[in-house]
């Protein structure tokens, strides 16, 4: 959409667009030609600088109080006009308050540190019974004080005080100045470490007691101030986040002209809006500017222009959009694979983890973390986790697994219980069945991917018939190669769960009808691929490797079962059960140890299952599924406007 008006209308146009919150501005960079010669980037509306300073002040207050607008819950919305009036009056008073408290806190901290330093100086003299001021200010005497390993007899006349009550022993010696050097040499030989004598007029022990008392009092005062700050935080939180939002919205609107192309008296804004909003925006702009605006819907090229993309999925698929965004947003004319992802990803995960207890634990985690995790992305991931855990529970009921123990019924369809521990003589796991089933899932998933590519090509290239036909033939070629190869394999060997075509009559050198048909399909497929792009032939082995990659569903699943059963075997079979026969104190300790091993093993397995199962399932989508058809590279739809959480207009 193109909007042109004179600069007088700039303010009303900007406000109207911001209010509707659907216009994605195509930024004018001032570089390209095509029609924009002579235009420059606009200047912000007046008042932007002033508002920016106010926002800075509010943000610094939020910092001091530790308020984070994104993590704050909404408690009703405040009206904009009343808020604006309050900002000027209250902001300065809050700031003055905060400054005073900060100054107070700093003062207290400085004092505490000073007292602690003095305490350290005084500590060694705690048992010295005389006032410390008597150790200073002599003309004919010097005083030495320090730590010494043991009491010594000085070679000169001296008054000494020795005490072992302090660590390192205290020696205080008053010596005539004339014999100071001799005494110092002697004492340092004896291992004296000098310490400074504090310059205070007191008896050490009394002053130490006083300092300690003061420090406790000041710490209590500091805590009081912290409490006061916290109480103020509660009081001002709602006001501050509302002001933050209001001012941010204002500044965004003021700075919008920076993204428009302007001349001396007019401006041009180009942007994208959803097709259903065209009429609403046009009429809104016409009323806001009194008809003094030119609005036009422009043509665009769906293939080459970067159109901003917003998802349009049913509600149950919406949380999986975050998994799509991790890879890349879909392009404009592509099929959005989010639906497939939202259904198949939990199925893969359940197939791998397949345990009722782990599923229940993950379900509990997904509900429990709802209080802790804030933010859009986190909440979506938690919903995805909930789906994964439900799928895991369903598969656990099918596979009859609970924390590695078999449930009272036999596994339905496929048996994953390995021959470990109590199950050593039971039914062996259906490994080949699992592998073949995973291969089938792979074949079908990949065929689906190629079919989606065909559909995408027919939409993208609906104007270039020849290119479209080339791509469609190429993709059909890939499908033929895969199924042709399958037919050949089925005609040669009988694989469980796959059609057995070995019994058909043989025609040429061991190939029967199905084999010949398979070879024909294979060769046609290769020709199809080659006519699209001959270099793609180097990717032929991926037909095999990508399908076999799906066998990880079976392998990772079996390894998860194995860890669970081994943990049970070690904890119960090897540690707890023998100890149950001998219930002495050692026995109880051993039983507790066994329980610890049990819990540790299963916690580890849950985490491994979640991370490993989730990663492998999503990797199968990203690498094996998406590379068949997905282009991605879509730009995120970022409309000019704001969803107001704390204010209302």
């Amino acid at each position: 959409m193109l909007i042109v008006a004179s600069k007088n209308q700039l303010n009303s146009v900007v406000r109207e667009l911001y209010h509707h919150n659907v216009f994605h501005i195509e930024d004018f960079t001032g570089e390209e030609g095509d029609g924009y010669e002579g235009f420059t980037i606009g200047a912000p509306l007046s008042g932007a600088a002033d508002l920016s300073t106010k926002i800075l002040r509010i943000r610094s207050l939020e910092n001091t109080y530790g308020i984070n607008p994104e993590k704050t819950d909404e408690n009703g919305q405040q009206a904009c006009t009343s808020l604006e009036a309050r900002i000027d009056s209250e902001l300065s008073s809050i700031e003055a308050n905060v400054e005073a408290q900060n100054a107070e806190q700093n003062g207290i901290e400085v004092k505490i540190r000073e007292y602690e330093q003095r305490l350290i100086e005084l500590e060694p003299f705690i048992t010295f019974p005389v006032n410390l001021s008597l150790l200073h200010g002599y003309e004919n005497f010097s005083v030495l004080a320090g730590h010494i390993p043991k009491d010594v007899e000085l070679p000169v006349d001296a008054e000494t005080f020795f005490d072992t009550g302090v660590p390192g022993n205290l020696l205080v010696a008053i010596i005539a100045k004339s014999s100071l050097d001799e005494a110092t040499t002697f004492l340092s030989e004896q291992g004296l470490r000098l310490i400074p004598i504090p310059d205070m007029d007191c008896i050490a022990s009394e002053r130490i007691a006083w300092f300690t008392q003061e420090i406790t009092r000041l710490t209590a005062e500091k805590e009081q101030i912290d409490e006061r700050i916290k109480a103020q935080r509660e009081e001002h939180e709602a006001f501050l986040v509302a002001c933050d939002e209001l001012l941010t919205a204002e500044v965004e609107q003021m700075e919008a002209p920076l993204r428009f192309a302007t001349t001396e008296k007019t401006f041009v804004a180009e942007g994208w809006i959803p097709s259903e909003s065209v009429d609403k925006i046009t009429s809104g702009l016409q009323t806001a500017t009194g008809g003094k605006v030119y609005v036009e819907e422009l043509e665009f090229d769906p293939v080459n222009d970067t159109v901003p993309i917003e998802y349009d999925n049913p509600n149950f698929s919406k949380p999986s959009e975050i998994l799509m965004d991790t890879y890349s947003r879909p392009g404009y004319s592509e099929l959005d694979p989010t639906i497939f992802l939202s259904i198949i990803f939990p199925i893969f995960f359940g197939f791998i983890l397949g345990d009722v207890a782990y599923g229940l634990v993950l379900l509990a985690v997904s509900y429990g973390l709802r209080k802790v995790v804030k933010g859009e992305a986190g909440k979506k991931l938690l919903v995805v986790l909930r789906n994964l855990s439900i799928s895991s529970i369903i598969f656990g009921l099918l596979f009859s697994e609970f924390l590695g123990f078999p449930l009272p019924w036999a596994p339905i369809g496929i048996n994953r219980h390995l021959n470990i521990g109590t199950n050593s003589s039971g039914h062996a796991p259906d490994v080949v069945l699992l592998l073949v089933l995973s291969a089938w899932i792979g074949i079908l998933h990949i065929t689906l991917g190629r079919l989606i590519h065909i559909r995408n090509a027919s939409v993208r290239f609906r104007n270039h018939k020849s290119h479209r036909n080339k791509v469609i033939l190429g993709q059909t070629g890939w499908i033929f190669v895969m199924w042709g190869l399958l037919l050949i394999i089925w005609s040669i060997a009988a694989i469980p769960l796959m059609p057995d075509l070995t019994a058909l009559p043989q025609i040429v050198s061991g190939f029967n009808v199905a084999g010949i048909l398979g070879t024909v399909m294979l060769l046609t497929g290769v020709a199809g691929i080659a006519q699209d792009n001959i270099l793609e032939l180097t990717e032929l082995p991926t037909v095999l490797s990508h399908v076999l990659s799906y066998t990880r569903l079976a392998a990772v699943g079996l390894s998860s079962v194995a860890i669970a059963m081994v943990t049970n075997y070690i904890a119960i079979g090897l540690i707890i059960e023998p100890a149950l026969n001998d219930l002495s104190l050692i026995g109880i300790v051993v039983i507790v140890f066994g329980i610890v091993v049990f819990l540790l093993g299963h916690t580890l397995n849950t985490v491994l299952g979640l991370v490993g199962g989730g990663l492998h399932s999503i990797r199968l989508h990203y690498v094996e599924f998406f590379t068949k058809f997905y282009l991605g590279g879509g730009k995120k739809y970022n409309p000019f406007g704001m969803i107001r959480r704390f204010t209302e207009e």
Binding site: V431, V432, L435, S549, V556, L558, S559, H616, I618, R619
Partner: protein
């Protein structure tokens, strides 16, 4: 001194079982080494990238786990051997 063992069917079967076990162990062990070498360098680069830009975490996590294929194939071979 040479110890002579009489080769019976049970002995042959047991030693076949033992060989299979060694084969399965080597399959998983050696492929595990290969995967660890691959994921080692990718993981180092991934941590470096994430420390500069937190948004990219999901993508680098997937990239780091990409070479897991190698050890999965080793596991599949081991399972096919043992069962």
């Amino acid at each position: 001194m040479v110890v002579e063992t009489i080769m019976t069917v049970e002995v042959a079967q047991a030693s076949a079982m033992g060989m299979k076990a060694i084969g399965a162990g080597m399959a998983v062990g050696l492929t595990g080494l290969a995967t660890s070498f691959a994921q080692y360098s990718i993981g180092t680069a991934a941590v470096g990238a994430v420390s500069e830009n937190k948004d990219i975490f999901g993508l680098v996590l997937i990239l780091t786990v990409l070479p897991e294929t190698i050890v999965i194939f080793g596991l599949v071979v081991a399972l096919l051997m043992l069962f």
